[in-house]
Amino acid sequence: MTPELAARLIDAIGAFLLFTMIHILAASQLYRAIYVVAAQSVFIALAGAVLGAATDNLDLWIIAIVTLLVKAILLPWLLFGVVRRIRIHREIVSVIPITVTLAIAGVIVVVAFHLSSSLGSVTQAITGNALPVGISLTLMGVLVMMSRRTALVQMIGLFASENGIFFTAMAVSQGMPLIIEIGVILDVILGALVMGVLVLRVRSSIDSDIADLDRLRG
């Protein structure tokens, strides 16, 4: 695979990633958000595979496969399991209106481009537009986590943000060392498990969503 082709493919994958991120931001139903984040993880795995093929880096292939298995299959399956067990309605409640969220997303993308232009010296030509896309994904994931009052959507925002960080790492340095990547994914799994446990604990004792509790103040 020529570097040029790889750059174009990664560009295209970046567009898909941004589109899925917009869907997560605009999602009003939990199921849809879970499907979209799974699709996003598939695209991330694809990007890793493309870069691995272009640079003959076996580590990237391994990371791609692990990402596919864990973030595109295992974690969504986990989330579906939690959703099935909680009885609350599956609409996503947000602190700010979704249209405002989308507007902020637009601002984030502009900021990300500005930021990446000042980071320009470390970008590799092979990854094209990946750096601003990665930064915007990370920041938009954080936006989802901060602006939603549904626990599972906050988790989805976390996964999306981590996708963004991985994409950024790919953009600047062919991904992080394999062990670190595996460790990060492991952390994400464990974090997701603990969050799932907390959500289910709340469900069993209180009839509301855990992210909606706000008695602790001052």
């Binding site: 930021l115 000042s118 980071l119 010296s121 470390v122 990370t138 994931g141 954080v142 986590m145 901060m146 626990a151 906050q154 976390l158 943000s161 981590e162 960080i165 950024t168 790492a169 600047v172 340095s173 062919q174 992080m176 060392p177 062990i179 670190i180 460790g183 990060v184 492991l186 952390d187 464990l190 974090g191 603990v194 969050m195 446990v197 907390l198 959500v199 604990r201 709340v202 004792s205 209180i206 855990i210 992210a211 509790l213 706000d214 008695r215 602790l216 001052g218």
Partner: protein, 490 residues
């Protein structure tokens, strides 16, 4: 000897896994004590080696220099005293039926793994491993914070895990940027570009722009975990809702480990961008933390929340000291890490006792502690005076050094503001503590026997607190000086 670095976190991990199979409370306590004692011994051995023979390195993943030793000592000491305190505390909790016996193994195992992750954080040389361990501490401590399964505890646990995970994602982002800068400076070779020791060595060649942005993200990330304002909101909730031994570990040890991460990135940023950039940021956020925490301390009613906000303030003081920089400021900040950790644990233990005795966290309901539990009451007053920064206790010394360094560095306005806040907090804290210790106890509170283990733990902490207030012993002084040098990149 470098294999000690591997063995150190493995000890609590294996003890923790072992504990999962043990049912008897006394055996669990014994294992707890043994594990922490072993860790303490190993830390002492490690300390001796590092101070005499220089920094240790293992497999490109772990390393131990003077800064590591300082933090290891803190974690080990607090782990040990917490284990001692837990003996009596757990007996009380089980007798009162608040913690079912079948959940005990899980609790103890989680504590051990929590301590293990903290140890890994501090001995990590690889920035990625540092991050992974930091996230590991979040995961284990979130389960511990929500252990009581009551509504407030779960809310606190959720806020804790979400806010810190958001923050720490920024930290990962910053790590990636620094990694990229280092790999780039090495000519595109990523070997060792994630290791702190390597990065510091090539720090002057790093692109300052990238390091600046990376440092900002890392500061946001690890600062969230440390409880720096304005991302400190989770801290009062989590530290107040957690079980008392866990609160002590969180406030005393965990936020210090996050500060360790900040210190590492600070050293890198100093090397690449010069001392002004990172120092100014730390100074600013430290001061903001102190200022933000003050009104909440004054108006607080929940005793553990009060202590949580107080931790925010003291983390701010450490950042303030680091920001002032220079040998004196850094020395003061590092000393404060130790002092605050010890003192905060002591006061948390006392508070835990008082809450257990009076049945409520509300400070208006806790009265007359001196009459009901004389030893605990005494420790409360001692601890409160120490936290507020009174001589002859340790915090006074470190705060004084910070002020000295600040004045010497010319930050008079900042120091003046800092002093004002400290005075206000002093007044507030003594007021609260006095109301709790003196006066007539509520009729429902009975003068029960004070658990000896709890008193032992508190005495140990108080002794260290007093000792460090009177003088800094020579070995510790050497460690601090060396650690300050390492932090300043000299």
């Amino acid at each position: 000897m470098s294999s000690l670095l591997w063995i150190l976190p493995l000890v609590p991990t294996s003890f923790g896994l072992l504990m999962l199979g043990v049912r008897d409370r006394r055996w669990l306590n014994a294992l707890d004590l043994a594990s922490n004692a072993l860790v303490a011994t190993l830390v002492v051995a490690l300390a001796q080696h590092v101070m005499s023979a220089g920094p240790l390195r293992a497999a490109g993943v772990f390393a131990a220099d003077a800064v590591t030793i300082l933090f290891l000592a803190l974690v080990a000491f607090l782990g040990l005293t917490t284990a001692i305190y837990t003996v009596g505390w757990m007996r009380h909790k089980v007798a009162a039926g608040e913690i079912p016996e079948r959940r005990l193994p899980v609790y103890f195992a989680l504590i051990q793994i929590f301590i293990a992750t903290m140890l890994v954080t501090v001995v990590a040389d690889n920035l990625g491993v540092l991050w992974i361990a930091m996230e590991g501490t979040t995961i284990t401590s979130a389960l511990l914070v929500g252990f009581a399964r009551d509504r407030d505890g779960l809310e606190a646990a959720w806020k804790y895990i979400i806010v810190t995970t958001i923050g720490i994602s920024f930290g990962l982002f910053g790590t990636v940027l620094i990694y990229a800068a280092a790999a780039h400076a090495q000519g595109g070779v990523p070997e060792g570009a994630m290791n702190f020791t390597t990065i510091v060595a090539i720090a002057p060649t790093l692109d300052p722009g990238i390091v600046r942005i990376g440092f900002i993200f890392a500061l946001i990330g690890y600062g969230t975990k440390a409880g720096l304002a304005p991302v400190h909101m989770w801290l009062p909730d989590a530290h107040s809702q957690a079980p008392t031994p866990v609160s002590a570990l969180l406030s005393g040890a965990l936020i210090k480990c996050a500060l360790f991460g900040i210190i590492r990135f600070h050293t890198i940023a100093r090397g690449a961008c010069g001392p002004a950039f990172a120092g100014d940021l730390l100074l600013l956020f430290g001061l903001v933390s102190v200022v933000v925490a003050t009104p909440f301390i004054l108006t607080q009613q929940d005793v553990k929340r009060l202590l949580g906000y107080h931790s925010v303030e003291h983390v701010g003081i450490v950042a303030f000291g680091l920001g002032i920089g220079g040998p004196l400021g850094t020395y003061a900040a590092l000393l404060h890490v130790l002092n605050h950790g010890v003192t905060k644990a002591l006061v948390f233990f006392v508070a835990g006792d008082a809450i257990g005795r009076c049945g409520s966290r509300d400070m208006r309901r806790i009265r007359g502690l001196l009459r009901v539990a004389p030893f605990a009451g005494t420790f409360l007053m001692l601890g409160a005076f120490s936290l507020a920064g009174t001589p002859p206790f340790s915090i006074f010394i470190s705060e004084l050094l910070v002020i000295q360094a600040g004045l010497a560095g010319g930050h008079t306005l900042a120091v003046a503001l800092f002093l004002a806040m400290v005075v206000v907090i002093f007044a507030g804290l003594i007021h609260h503590a006095g109301k709790m210790a003196f006066g007539a106890p509520e009729p429902s509170v009975h003068a029960g026997e004070e658990p000896r283990s709890g008193l032992l733990a508190m005495s140990l902490l108080a002794a260290v607190m007093l000792a460090l207030g009177l003088t800094v012993p020579v070995p510790l002084h050497d460690v601090l000086v060396r650690a300050a040098e390492v932090t300043l990149g000299m």
